[in-house]
Amino acid sequence: MLDTWISKKYRSPDKYTELFAKNTPYEHIILPNFFSSAKLKLVASALKQQPFAEKNSDLFQFSQSGDLKTTRNKVFNDFYKFLSSKEFISYVATLTSTKLSKKIDCSCFVYQSTDYLLPHDDRLEGRKIAYVVNLSSLKEKDGGSLDLFDSRNNQPHTIVKSYAPTFNSLILFRVTPLSFHQVAEVVADKERYTITGWFHG
């Protein structure tokens, strides 16, 4: 299954273990052109037919699909089966040196102009590794970047890494009390599509 879904250069996860562990401000990695481009284009195309619900609170404003576990769409179903497969979970476990269970969360998100997600750490029981599959590309000036904060006194302090969404990049980071991050406001009339969730352990 890995051979079908992942680009050839990424098939050995242990090559990236050190990079994941050494990245700052906390363990993370960005893997450009990670999936088979043809397959991910199908996912991106299916995404535009998904129903999304607007979510709005003090912390965020975006639209979200239901958990992809329950999707009836064949393209999503295949993608979900891959992400939750033993093979891929084992791949992520190796890359991140983390013991993972079979459980994953997986939803589609779309951020339109003025949408955002303010700083938080993602901690919730069982979440070990967060992942973001980027299904659209935005320029830096468009907003929508995933920003990582360093911390002082266990509080987020300064944005030290900022990743503009790039189609077919996979981002993984370890969920810890210090994994502070945000999604910057989208300031262009563009849409930021992702599939996002967590590997549990």
Binding site: L59, T114, L118, P119, G143, F180, Q182, V187
Partner: protein, 192 residues
């Protein structure tokens, strides 16, 4: 000694106006009221002049808030802490007011406040608005929450809003880029 009659619009000198306001406050859920044109034109114009000269200091604690604050202009501070003003708030809300805390805040693009972990302290929350032009689509409004939004205060000019905060939490919605350089200026605090 501050004589607040020289500050307030003539309407609010009348007992009948305050009694009517008290009735509206009690009937609203949550208990709340917005008093429009609270200051007379002369005072309001003076405040706007003073506020335009203020040096703001940015406060940023990513998990809590991002906004600018400054010390209250002296006269405004005297007004808020005056016995006459406490009496006015007591008449409208039916609560005995002992003390006041007040902060002067300015919100622009990227600013926000998040909800606290628990509800606000019991008391009467107040907000004085000094923002003439605003669009709620820019964010920046104050939302009172308890199992969903119960009340929203949109940025306004020359208003006094009073809210009984029992069991409510509160946040200021993130201000998006469509606000451009517009600022929301307000004084807010709690009467206890």
């Amino acid at each position: 000694m501050v004589n607040i009659k020289s500050w307030l619009s003539v309407d609010y000198h009348r007992k009948e106006t305050l009694a009517a306001a008290a009735s509206v406050f009690l009937s609203n859920k949550p208990q709340s009221i917005q008093l429009r044109n609270i200051f007379n034109d002369q005072r309001y114009t003076t405040f706007i002049g003073e506020l335009s000269r203020i040096q703001w200091k940015q406060k940023y604690d990513a998990l809590t808030l991002r906004c600018s604050t400054s010390l209250l202009p002296l006269e405004l501070s005297q007004f808020l802490h005056s016995e006459d003003f406490k009496l006015l708030v007591s008449i409208v809300t039916g609560k005995i007011i002992h003390q006041t805390t007040a902060d002067l805040c300015c919100f622009g693009h990227k600013d926000y406040t998040l909800m606290n972990d628990g509800p606000l302290p019991n008391g009467i929350f107040f907000q004085l608005g000094f923002t003439p032009i605003w669009n709620d689509g820019w964010g920046g409004y104050t939302s009172f929450v308890s199992d969903g939004e119960q009340l929203r205060i949109s940025p306004t000019a020359n208003t006094l809003t009073l809210v009984d905060t029992s069991k409510l939490n509160r946040f200021t919605k993130y201000i998006n880029h469509r606000a451009s350089k517009s600022k929301r200026i307000l004084v807010e605090g709690i009467f206890k």
